[in-house]
Subunit: 324 residues, 2 copies
Amino acid sequence: MGSEGLSYAAAGVDIEAYQRVLERVKPLIAATHGKDVAVGVGPFAGLYKLPGGGHLAASADGVGTKIKVAIAAGRHRGIGVDIVNHCVNDIATAGARPLFFLDYFATGRLDPDVFTQLIEGMTGACREAGCALLGGETAEMPGMYALGDYDLAGFIVGMVEPGAHRAPIKAGDVLIGLPSSGLHTNGYSLVRKVFEDVPPSRAFPELGRPLEDVLLEPHRSYLEELTHFRWKGAAHITGGGILGNLPRCLPEGLGAHLKKAAWEVPPIFELIRKRGRVADDEMYGTFNMGLGMILVVDPGDVPDGARIVGEVVRHTGPDRVVIR
Amino acid sequence: MGSEGLSYAAAGVDIEAYQRVLERVKPLIAATHGKDVAVGVGPFAGLYKLPGGGHLAASADGVGTKIKVAIAAGRHRGIGVDIVNHCVNDIATAGARPLFFLDYFATGRLDPDVFTQLIEGMTGACREAGCALLGGETAEMPGMYALGDYDLAGFIVGMVEPGAHRAPIKAGDVLIGLPSSGLHTNGYSLVRKVFEDVPPSRAFPELGRPLEDVLLEPHRSYLEELTHFRWKGAAHITGGGILGNLPRCLPEGLGAHLKKAAWEVPPIFELIRKRGRVADDEMYGTFNMGLGMILVVDPGDVPDGARIVGEVVRHTGPDRVVIR
């Protein structure tokens, strides 16, 4: 580590470069959209109108370099859970019930044990979500993946029932944070830099268990918890952290104020911040910081015991999310 | 190259090992299937019953190491076409009309030009197929992919209209071969071994154009052509070649006899066979050999000018497909 703190871009991931090229290709993508596409690329799920009423919600996701941590530890079951729950949460933000999931598994040379662990994780999470593992592709690509390496992507389709309606989001609505189980599936390229000189089995006192156990904690599903709230909007806090994802569920002209003191940031994030001397904006723009899902709720609908973390505000200009 | 000819397994791809582990995990996958799953893992597409009637057909696919050829040539647009048409053809075998497609693109560091070319290819093929590019995931995974490398996967969902019915396949039905545009997206790990000592720009006399042009020819779509025939079954000839894929559309107790003389094998396959001293079984068990789709048709429904390549026969034991 040099004298400056670590950032996601310095760890080799440039989200802004991606945003620029995405702007360039958006017209090409829009040209494929007929009248049946309700929501295209951008939010957490794409929505497609069904002739019989209702919508299909679909999402594609990866697990990112969390896979590298799993490979080092030789533990892959949780990666299977990760990819399914990441997908389930994405379409849950559209109010969708999962119907089926498909996976794409690519590797240099198929390791039957790794593959079996992944399938165990995926099928377990699919059963939890009431979702069929309907198919998948397994690709052996010698020369593309180094020995022992693999990649795993997932694709989910869910159903948004006809007549599902949510009241419009307005200034004064309340933000409720749902706790994450850990880093979920984001920020691992930065995390791996931060801990590159640390044996993954080290138990930091503030974590109370081995680092790799904390890093490999599976991405939790919010499917059931989202039925406990009457909510207007939901942001799944994935790549881009709270700063990047919360605006995705807010209409134009609205922003969010969050209170830092409103929730306790889990020790792993503090450890990452300190060891990597990572700036605060970088932390909140990369990680979920303990909130894996943030819901927008009418002040009259806040249930007892809900963790209120902020509110929706009128907004113009940059910095749509302010955390103080 | 040693004294023995090349095989797909020797090139680093072991389809049999995959089949063995798939048998092991099948019960786990089946346990995720409720009554709404009409066809699970195995055929070209998974089918899911819609409450309003009809089925959704879904498939996940990759492009494999054809990507390595594209990277060497710096030409990526066709890879975008490949992944969409591979998916379109898979669900077309179930009689499905494509609704939407999602992609998964993973790389070490995003190259805007590569990404743009891929999106151009994918959106072009989506428009041709009347299919919306509904979403996707772009993952930068430094440390997983070497500089310049990437992987691309696709997921498609289509609609099989209610009441679609096909007569059962029986012995005596006719096999009609639809021409391929080249290798499509299969066998490239073997092909790359065969030509590893050849500059990709070399124009072999029997090809009449540079090798890389032939190898990068995009996977064609059979969507429209499949509406010209009244057919009972369709096999998309992908990984596993004719020997591996034709049986997938045949019911138990039936096999296929194909006549070699019935179609002309394109020069690229002859060149691969000769240079790699690849056994005949290996060729027909790896490549499409000029037939990218094989249809099962009632003898009374064969249209004028159709290329009849064989027939369905009663069968027991191994070798369900015999090519003479």
